[in-house]
Assembly symmetry: C2
Homo-oligomer: 314 residues x 2
Amino acid sequence: MTKPLFETIALIGIGLIGSSLARVIRAEGLAGHVAIATRSEATLEAARKLGLGDSYFSSNAEAVANADLVIVSVPVGASEAVAREIGPHLKPGAIVTDVGSTKASVVRQMQPHMPETVHFIPGHPIAGTEQSGPEAGFAQLFKGRWCILTPAADVDAQAVDRLAAFWGACGSTVERMDPDHHDMVLAIVSHLPHIIAYNIVGTADDLEAVTQSEVIKYSASGFRDFTRLAASDPVMWRDVCLHNKDAILEMLARFSEDLSSLQRAIRWGDGDKLFDLFTRTRGIRRSIIEAGQDTDAPDFGRNAGKADVPGAAE
Amino acid sequence: MTKPLFETIALIGIGLIGSSLARVIRAEGLAGHVAIATRSEATLEAARKLGLGDSYFSSNAEAVANADLVIVSVPVGASEAVAREIGPHLKPGAIVTDVGSTKASVVRQMQPHMPETVHFIPGHPIAGTEQSGPEAGFAQLFKGRWCILTPAADVDAQAVDRLAAFWGACGSTVERMDPDHHDMVLAIVSHLPHIIAYNIVGTADDLEAVTQSEVIKYSASGFRDFTRLAASDPVMWRDVCLHNKDAILEMLARFSEDLSSLQRAIRWGDGDKLFDLFTRTRGIRRSIIEAGQDTDAPDFGRNAGKADVPGAAE
């Protein structure tokens, strides 16, 4: 058996991402030992029952003591508390990374607590589902996906390559990016879509003229597509909104400006303008499918596994 | 063999909906003869190659001459022209229906051209995919879905029951509704979601700070969910926007009002307000899944048919 990439990996937080990491580390033999830590006793017990690691800690500090790689997978709002806890206990030469959906804020929160002797390399795997918790994870979550690393200019290049090799072994392709640019990119591809989805589901929930049972019955005509994102983890998304505020507010402003213009075209019956937009947007989906980032099956191939009935969702 | 529900069915328009009807009529033996008419010679030829009907016409008037059931499946903006063409040629006692996404406008356009001797019963199957054209149809499109009929008060009840039986045989459950209420319900469950999806894809397409290739690469983090609806047929959706203007503008106003309030909560760091909304919206998805209107597989079970890799879209 070949030597694993890391002797000991510590996973701080064992939700969808952390538990998917535990599974792929096991499946690919990427560590000699996996130490798992999480604040919630119930979650730690669930991880133990699932056999996700080799040792289990309710103290983050104890979990990182011997770790060569520490992966922090907590809501971004908890990053500073975790960094403060683990900072003094990190092994010299260790690589510390995270999986947070915002990067500039994570750097601000964690960097000050990282000793000179460790390599702090923020990261963000562009993967996930609307489900959460240790039971929701699976080893293939990162397969065919991108992982963005945002190392500072002075970080040891070999450490960055080693972390990149880890993500490569998880099935992802690694990109390096400036934290602020990452936050701008994610604001449009991830944060705005989630906020819009949460918002439209809230709007539908508040209607008087249309009952909730009508919204549910007829949701296959479009609405249901938004409800998946709107079922994502509320704590994670509250923190994303609070910690990528500037980029999100800029994207929201652009979105609202465009929507007002579209609304005006509808009010004044400008069919050509509507047709032009509705045509232009088709190309982007084609490109996403060609890039292997979505399926080309109708209705996302809903239930393709259960029956050969695209569009049917019984 | 039992007697089919209708001796002759005429399908005016043979796109996704029309061609799916042709397939389910054939599969379930719902007609003795299927006559197909469409304006485009190329589409008519495609339908012929697919063997979707028993006779093919480029004249709508000729196609309906002997039909006991006429189903008009064209963009709602073309309803009046079709009604004017077929009106004088309809067989006495025939049932005339449509599948348009807006109903009050279709009634305004078609009713004046319907002779007293026929039963005009507007309809709307709540089913579809982002794909279009005769090749995109499939017999199971209507299975497990709802179909809304909006007959006027004075329409023959037996004719309505007969049309309801037809949709039941297609696999759908029939609801009856007032046209204006239908238009209000669909504005929130279908029209607003499509408009929002088109708009956000347009916004992303216009960014300078983020390249289109970045949007495409990282779209699995949420954005891609919107691109499916934004790939829908531009002519159909232009017409929906123009023909359900009032209800759509009301829903857009409510959505924008809610979005401004959400935007303010983000600007001022009101985490509790964000958390409350992000929690409330989870319930609606659960109800949609319980109602059998969506899959509970992560990421809509994308590619569940191709590989047991939820979330992966290679």
